[in-house]
Every structure is written in C-alpha cells, then in structure tokens.
C-alpha cells in the first residue's frame, strides 16, 4: 500500500508580526536555500492511521478544529481520499501573534486500501477532532475458515 508521507507543518510558519520576525526570516531564507522542499507552501498533511480486522478496514485521521461539513471523503478504485480546508477563525486574526504553530489551509491525504471494500457500506464518524472511517471488506476479501474433515 502506498501512502503519501506525513510531513510536519512547516516550522517556520510565522506571521510577520511575530516578535522575532527578522531573525526568523533570516532562518527561513537559509532553510529555503538549502532545503527547497522545506518551504512555507509544504502544506498540511494530517496524521493518519490504518487498521484492519476480519471484517473491516479502519482509517483514522487527526483533523482537529474542523466542521463535519468541511471534510470531503471519496472512494474510487480502492483509493480513499480525505480532503478539505481548515480556515482561520476569528481567534487567529485578532491581535499580535506570539506563537504560531498550527497550520491552516487545504489538506489532502490518500490511502490505497489493502483489500477491496464495499463502497456502499462505508461509514465515517467525526468526534473530538478525529475522523474514523469504517470500510467493510467485500465478502470475497474476507478471510475464510475452511473446515477440514479428518476421517
């Protein structure tokens, strides 16, 4: 299975009003020059776990601070895509930033599922900032017990 690698939110996602902006900008320039992938635009890749048991594949994704309606889920050709956008709320616009570690913006995670699933029976629950998607396996994909008669 292939999963797009998780990256930490950019460490240098700091607004210009930050107290140490000039120092941070210098550091940013230094990092941008040596590590092109470490840019401000690297985006948010929410943390994701995959479990499976006999009947289901379970995908859990940490998406704190969203609304249920802001999360998009799609399943196509055995590939589950979770996407959406976290918008800046009022609490993050007023005043002067002291500390700015949280990431805002669009995200997308893609999971190539380990077994075929029944797309009509997929359930998703969003609670305490964690999205849990239960994907029942198709009958053909479930492990089967074969009884052996010993004569």
């Amino acid at each position: 299975m292939s999963i797009i690698r998780y990256q930490f939110p950019s460490l240098f996602h700091i607004t210009p009003s930050d107290r140490f902006s000039s120092l941070r900008e210098d550091l940013n320039r230094l990092f941008d020059a040596s590590l092109p992938s470490f840019s401000r635009e690297s985006g948010w890749n929410p943390v994701l776990d995959v479990f499976q048991d006999q009947d289901n594949v379970l995908v859990q994704c940490e998406l704190p601070g969203l609304k249920k309606e802001e999360i998009d889920l799609s399943l196509r050709d055995g590939v589950l895509t979770i996407s959406g956008e976290r918008k800046q709320d009022l609490a993050n616009k007023d005043g002067e930033a002291f500390r700015c570690e949280r990431y805002f913006g669009t995200f997308q995670r893609t999971v190539s599922l380990p077994t075929p699933v029944d797309s009509a029976q997929v359930k998703a629950v969003y609670q305490d900032g964690i999205l849990t998607i239960t994907l029942p396996k198709t009958e053909a994909a479930k492990p089967k017990q074969i009884e052996v008669n010993v004569s």
Binding site: D49, F51, G65, D94, G95
Partner: protein, 126 residues
C-alpha cells in the same frame, strides 16, 4: 508567554517511567484585552482535560478518551500519548478569569488581562 521545558526534568526527577507526553501544537495571540491560546489535542474531550495554574505557570494536560481500535495495525503515523504542555504566564493575566473551551480537539483558552493594565480612555472634563 513562553513555553517551559520542565516536563522532561520533572519526569526524570520522579523516577517514574511512563509513556512520553505529546506536546500539542499551539497558537498564542495577544490583544489589548488579553491572550487567546489554542492547542491541538485530537482525541481529547472536555472530561479528559485539566488546566491548572501554579506559580505563574499555566499547565495543560489532555488525556485521550479514544481507544486504540482493535485489529491489526497496518500503518501508523499518530503518536498515541496524552498531551501536556506548560506555558509561563504573563503576570498581567487575571488568573481568576481564565476560561476554557474544548471543541473538536481544539482547546481554546481565553486569558484576560487584569483591569489595571488594560488600555483605557480617560474622559476629559471641562
């Protein structure tokens, strides 16, 4: 408001070996009225949250209420630990009036400044 790094020292001093805490990502903003702190703690609800103030330090502890799903682990990125982080409080904050809200894994703390330090307009009398 600075972040303190006392957690590691405390744990070492007590000699108790435990699952390391996850340091939640936080945003802190200052307005004329006070500070607003937001910390990301997915998996924590109101009942698992402890916010305390001691010796001018604000301590946040978030215990996860979500159980690890049963079944075989296929792929893991999350760090299943409880959350803890300590902030040094600005002395101008009124400790009595701090309010907390927990919503979809985001803790929002409103830390108002004392009336004494808030900017105020002074009316001029004739």
């Amino acid at each position: 408001m600075n972040t303190l790094t006392k957690t590691a020292q405390n744990a070492a001093a007590s000699g108790v070996r435990r699952v390391p805490f996850v340091k939640p990502l936080a945003n802190v903003r200052e307005t004329a009225e006070g500070y607003v702190l937001q910390a990301e703690m997915p998996g924590v609800n109101k009942s698992g949250l402890e916010v305390s103030i001691e010796n001018g330090e604000l301590s946040i502890l978030g215990r996860r209420s979500d159980a690890t799903p049963s079944g075989q682990l296929v792929y893991r990125e999350s760090r299943a630990g409880d959350y803890q982080r300590t902030f040094e409080l600005d002395p101008t904050i009124d400790g009595e009036k701090i309010s907390a809200k927990m919503e979809q894994g985001i803790l929002t703390l409103t830390l108002p400044k004392t009336e004494r330090v808030k900017p105020r307009k002074i009316a001029i009398t004739d």
